[in-house]
Amino acid sequence: MTEVVTSANPGLAQPLLAKRTSKRWLISAFITTAIVALPVLSVLFLALFPEENIWPHLLETTLPRYLTTTIKLMVGVGALTLVIGLATAWAVTMCEFPGRKFFEWALLLPFAIPAYVIAYVYTSLLDYAGPVQRALREWFGWQNASDYWFPEIRSLEGAILMIGLVLYPYVYLLGRAAFLEQSPSLFAVSRSLGHSALSTFFRVVLPIARPAIAVGLSLVLMETLNDFGTVDFFAVQTLTRGLFDTWMNLGNLGGAAQIATTMLMFVVILVTLERYSRRRQQQYAARDNRDPIHRFTMSFPRQMICVAVCAVPLIFGFIIPGASLGYYAWEYFDVSWNPDFIRNTFNSLFLSGAAALTTLIIGVTLAYSRRLHNTRGMQVLMRLSSLGYAMPGAVLAVGVIVPLAGFDNWLDTLMRDHLGVSTGLLLSGTAFALIFAYTVRFLAVSAGSVESALQKVTPSMDMASRSLGHTPGKTLMKVHLPILRGTLVTAALVVFVDCMKELPATLILRPFNYETLATYVYQFASDEQLYHSALPALIIVLAGIIPIILMNRSISNSRTVA
């Protein structure tokens, strides 16, 4: 009872859905998007007023290098995350081997480690004074750095590895969910037509999973593009570096906003190209959980290959950095332990939870409104609301300050003039500002995955529900949300983990005396002494693990497996 429709005309079903729908969805989507898009629009606005035109100087000097380094970094991280993410997702979904169930969730663990933390950990392990080189020197009797060659971790390649190791779970997660959703009969058909497993993977499985993989990959690329912590630490000169240079060293916020805008366009072009290349595809799959996946049974050597494929990213992406943090936490326990610790943990959990919930609600609203009214305008709105993710956090924070403080001061002036009271700053510098910033920043994560999952639900579901007299709202609650449960939980939890790790916007926007685990870790890390805060860093990781395990449950439960 599995049905896959690849329609040449995706618009065909839409008028049926939109028929007799009140405008409420459209209006609420429009208002939400307008609010969410404000920070990004503020940055675009700031870009109109540079202190001086930064481009002639940049073009003449560092811009070419910033650009090539950025592209190399993105291509490198993109390729690495695709290879690791897809290979592991395929292995745990389709192959039977010892430890498969363990790897299913364990492969998500590296996601809990912030990139700047893994970079720091590997640097202290692999640099000259670290245990690895020290052991090598002892074995071979080398005296100093000039006696031997050792790969430099602080390099472009190093940055690609570090970022790739903690971001591949995006691809793994979305890839696995897509593989699980695919009908096994498709695979069987392809095999019976004479294709090998490998050829089927590339010709059938991947193309069908592409929308989901594209979402995962674009999240990876956006996060890579606006990473500052790691590239700064490794002295890799990307556009972000140029941006902060223009802002902090030249005091040219407008110029920095222009660079941010350029980076945005970079992302928009990428995403548009990907969408354009599959513009004629539309997939609907009515899922049937009774149709089980038959995993390959394999020879022992092949099983071992699967184990190795899954173990390598886990060891390097989680076990080694996690153990190092654990070691530091133990060694420096006295300085790490701190009475504020519980409060900081609570702050992190509260903010992340609230933001995860908000992004989920907005994400569903937007994706569903688009399903009801798939107009060009709606599509543009959706894209616009996702752009916050493609901007460095610190720049986005300024974009958040502008409208919030503007609103606060407008209201304050109004009240002063008419009622003679001052309302002061109502929103700026509160937890609300932080949750708003997180929502703007991570909406792409939830809206993207909800949208791609919703697209796969065949419109006949809506039609059936509507013809039974349900309103669009009721259809959403009774039909779509239950179907999408796995995706929804995943989306919320990914946002949760992302918020736990979020740093630059939190630093700038937070209230007085307000620390999250991430900001607490950062104040030491930024002073070249992360080991002093290894304990809270470890808590970020542990707090990330719990949702990861939950996340895994909800995905696995979405499909029965023979």
């Binding site: 924070a397 510098g429 630093l507």
Partner: protein, 337 residues
């Protein structure tokens, strides 16, 4: 859905801290880590009963202050690096403070003529040289860093770091842009590796044999000596006060300014006065091995052992004025490339 949003907003508002304008408070926007300020602020609260609240970030606080405008809760801004302090003055975000105590405690060259900022500490930008591979006296000026004999022997952090930018600005002030460019090109040719890491990392690199000479702020070295794990590394280098015989060693400052919009102005001035007092200055000196700005307070015993520092008496304002030229020069020379 609207209800849920409203609920979320309500929770968010509930988590808001109490209004910052209550009595007995002072609010700080700080570019320095909160944990560095903690002992100072605890001492302040103990003495005056005034609670001190902090937001720490390395960027964006000036923008936040600017946008919050007259309603900003911030009373003072604490910054490092003269150029960043100067930016607050140029954006007209800070107010002048006339205080006899401050003027008595902080020498004239370490404060703004109208009191728009006061330095609290100074730090020298020093040269560190391998004990094994560099003879004492072999290098004694910044200018010599461009000398051919150091080819492949120097390590520094990024040329774009504010501390290096300030040093290059001071070179521009003394030698002009053209000469400084030649000098910086010379230094670049002598680098053992691409600029990377922080000041401590350069000292580590000397211990590792990657290079023989590095540039760094004095307190990084001091803090390494105070950390038992890092002391053996720091002990492998000698410290040099560059240009001690001539114009003096380049110094930068950390400082404090009163915001124009300060809601707790009196408390803010009390804080500024307290931080310039011998008691607070001693904490700065001991806990972070910086040089007290208050000339009546001696540096910590550890710092005093290094010998006396002769600061370059170039005005800090001039260093700030040359910042942009210095940044662009670093790009032209492609120092980090």
């Amino acid at each position: 859905m609207r209800m849920k949003l409203a609920a979320t907003a309500a929770i968010a508002l509930a988590a808001m801290p109490l209004s910052a304008s209550a009595d007995g408070e002072v609010n700080i926007y700080s570019y320095r880590q909160a944990y560095l300020l903690e002992p100072l602020l605890n001492a302040f609260t103990k003495e005056t009963g005034i609670e001190a609240n902090v937001v720490f970030a390395k960027q964006g606080l000036a923008e936040r202050l600017e946008r919050e405008g007259r309603n900003s809760p911030a009373d003072v801004v604490m910054t490092v690096d003269i150029s960043r302090i100067n930016e607050l003055v140029e954006k007209d975000l800070v107010a002048g403070v006339e205080s006899d105590t401050l003027q008595k405690n902080i020498p004239e060259n370490l404060r703004h003529p109208e009191g728009k900022w006061y330095a609290l500490t100074t730090r020298g930008r020093l040269i560190f040289a391998s004990k094994d591979r560099v003879k004492e006296g072999e290098i004694s000026t910044y200018e010599e860093l461009a000398d051919d004999k150091w080819e492949g022997r120097i390590c520094t952090r990024s040329g774009k770091h504010p501390y290096n930018i300030a040093l290059i600005s001071s070179m521009i002030a003394h030698h002009g842009e053209e000469k400084t460019q030649e000098w910086l090109e010379g230094v670049k040719d002598n680098l053992a590796r691409k600029p990377q890491g922080g000041d401590r990392d350069q000292i580590k690199a000397i211990a590792e044999g990657v290079c023989d000479i590095s540039i760094g702020n004095s307190y990084y070295y001091g803090n390494m000596l105070m950390d038992e794990n890092q002391r053996p590394i720091a002990e492998q280098v000698n410290l040099v006060f560059p240009n001690a015989e001539g114009r003096g060693t380049h110094v930068n400052i950390s400082g404090i300014s009163l915001t124009k919009s300060a809601p707790n102005k009196d408390n803010a001035i009390k804080l500024m006065e307290f931080l310039s007092s011998p008691e607070a200055q001693r904490i700065y000196a001991e806990a972070n091995t910086e040089y007290p700005a208050n000339s009546g307070v001696k540096p910590s015993g550890l710092v005093a052992e290094w010998g006396e520092i002769h600061p370059d008496n170039l005005s800090l304002q001039e260093i700030a004025n040359n910042r942009e030229a210095a940044v662009k020069l670093v790009d032209r020379v492609d120092y980090d490339g």
